[in-house]
């Protein structure tokens, strides 16, 4: 009697196992498929437009011909600027929260606020940036204002990922270092942060990814529809890829004709993010190995 029952149960187990496997498999495949579809779509339409000229030349003929060079440069400036602002401050904040702050109301408050910051819609950032940087501080619509605004957007991402990477370092290393008479700062600088660094870089990449595609924050703070020249200083306006894409798809002088360029822009944007990710992974692996050695 008993032997029969276990055979039945066993069969049911196998069937459920199989069911679960295929369900998850199909879903995962579905997601990958969607991604492939999107990429293929953009690749197909944008590929014809891509050329060395496209990347290095100014737009011509009301954006129906020529290149997207200024937008590309603008995006790069903005990404760099926002990271110059967000990365040091974000890392320092995370180090404070994880290594120094005592458990209590203040620490929980800071962490809650950071999470809230992450949830604020990007258009609100844009409005805030316009109000504070562009108007009150009189920076005007500029790279400076745009970088600061994007930096604020990126800040919670950097803080959270850095915090997580610090948290993931086993406490025994801190204890071991302190027991040798090192101060908390020495411990963080010499042992903990170098160990967390690969994951911190990942956080940086995530932040860059987030920032390069944002349109709303740069709408009022820096982006220009068209600039005949490249910017000279941080107080100048710039063009940017996401905004450029938006503009030529919706309110350009000749939408139909610019469609090809729009796809091209989208492709360049995606490529940018992809390349950044690959670069970051390479950096991660390099630093990961270094951590093991010294």
């Amino acid at each position: 009697m008993k032997a029969l029952n276990t055979a039945k149960i066993h069969k049911r187990k196998l069937r459920n196992q199989s069911l679960a496997f295929w369900t998850f498999g199909v879903i995962s495949f579905g997601i990958v498929a969607i991604l492939i579809v999107i990429l293929s779509f953009i690749l197909y339409h944008g590929f014809k437009v891509i050329s060395w000229d496209f990347i290095t030349k100014m737009p011509e003929d009301g954006m129906t011909k020529g290149g997207i060079y200024p937008a590309l440069i603008g995006t790069l400036y903005l990404v760099a600027g926002s990271m110059i602002f967000a990365f040091p401050i974000g890392v320092m904040s995370a180090i404070y929260i994880n290594e120094y702050a005592r458990d209590g109301i203040l620490k929980r408050f800071i962490q809650m606020m950071t999470n809230n910051l992450a949830g604020i819609p990007s258009i609100v950032f844009g409005l805030f940036g316009m109000s504070l940087f562009v108007n009150d501080l009189k920076f005007g619509a500029s790279i400076l204002a745009g970088s600061l605004t994007l930096g604020l957007l990126a800040l919670p991402v950097v803080i959270r990922t850095t915090e997580e990477s610090l948290k993931s370092i086993d406490n025994s290393f801190r204890i071991g270092s302190l027991a040798l008479g090192a101060s908390k700062w020495q411990t963080t600088k010499r042992v903990i942060f170098p160990m967390a660094f690969p994951n911190v870089i990942t956080g940086l990449i995530l932040a860059i990814g987030r920032v390069s595609g944002e349109t709303a924050p740069i709408l009022f703070t820096v982006a220009a529809y068209f600039l005949p020249r490249l910017p000279h200083s941080i107080f100048d306006q710039v063009m940017a890829l996401p905004y450029h894409l938006y503009v030529i798809s919706t309110s350009g002088t000749n939408i139909e004709a610019s469609r090809g360029i729009a796809y091209g822009t989208a492709l360049v944007l995606i490529m940018l993010v992809l390349i950044t990710n690959l670069l970051a992974n390479a950096l991660r692996r390099y630093f990961g190995n270094k951590v093991k050695m010294n």
């Binding site: 071991g176 270092s177 040798l180």
Partner: protein, 250 residues
């Protein structure tokens, strides 16, 4: 000469009374073993001497804890300096993800020592004291993680010795190791006591017998008995001590 002395020390983790009125002296250049069942307070007591209990929030300490005659919990005591004088080795070996050389040199570097020759000499000396030099002298630049568990623990001991402490605290240093490595560590402790004052927490009573000059038996936060190890193991004065070491209660 009393290297370490505690007088009526009480310690609380929040509301929990972890150490109850501990009064004890420890002589220079001796090995003192702290034994007792799990949770009896022996590791807590050990951590008092280099103020590692400070890292735990909600800890309250009363009473006097003196190292070389000075109260280490007084205001104005430099905790980093204390920890250079009172070193610690932990149960699970915890070398840094650095090279063998850099691990041992760490204590010197955070102390501001920059002289390369001095650091090299000190690293070699510490590794010899920890009976590890012969095994690693050709691969000092290799990662510490490439060593076996027993070697890693000896590395941690070398790392602690590099800054020349006078007291060495060891929290179950061999309990995570295989028997051969354990034997090596025990021999090491026997040799080190000529230069250092050692306090070792162990849940292995036979180890206490082999390695220590004095043994202190803790139970539920109280110090039940402390005496020469010979006496504790042949004729303890307290019946609870006898029950513990004969294995008649956990």
């Amino acid at each position: 000469m009393n290297k370490i002395e505690t007088r009526n020390v009480n310690l609380y983790y929040g509301d929990f009374h972890a150490l109850k009125g501990i009064t004890m002296s420890i002589q220079e250049n001796s090995v003192t073993a702290l034994i007792g069942p799990s949770g009896c307070g022996k590791s807590t007591y050990l951590r008092c001497f280099n103020r590692m209990n400070d890292l735990i929030q909600k800890v309250k300490i009363e009473g006097d804890i003196l190292v070389e005659g000075k109260d280490i919990y007084e205001r104005g005591v430099d905790v980093d300096e204390l920890r250079k004088k009172v070193g610690m080795v932990f149960q699970k070996p915890n070398p840094f993800p650095k090279s063998i050389f850099e691990n041992v040199a760490y204590g010197l570097r955070v102390n501001g020592v920059k002289n390369k020759a001095f650091i090299e000499e000190r690293v070699e000396r510490s590794l010899q004291q920890a009976a590890l030099w012969e095994e690693v002298k050709d691969k000092l630049k290799k990662s510490a993680f490439a060593l076996s568990g027993g070697q890693q623990q000896r590395l941690c001991i070398a790392r602690a010795l590099a800054i020349e402490p006078t007291v060495l605290l060891m929290d179950e240093p061999a309990s995570a190791l295989d028997p051969l490595s354990t034997a090596k560590i025990e021999e090491l402790i026997y040799e080190l006591k000529n230069k250092y004052t050692i306090i070792i927490v162990t849940h292995n009573m036979q180890q206490a017998g082999r390695v220590s000059d004095h043994t202190a038996f803790f139970y539920m936060g109280e110090l039940i008995e402390v005496d020469e190890t010979k006496v504790i193991f042949t004729n303890p004065k307290n019946v609870r001590t006898q029950n513990y070491i004969t294995g008649r209660f956990g």
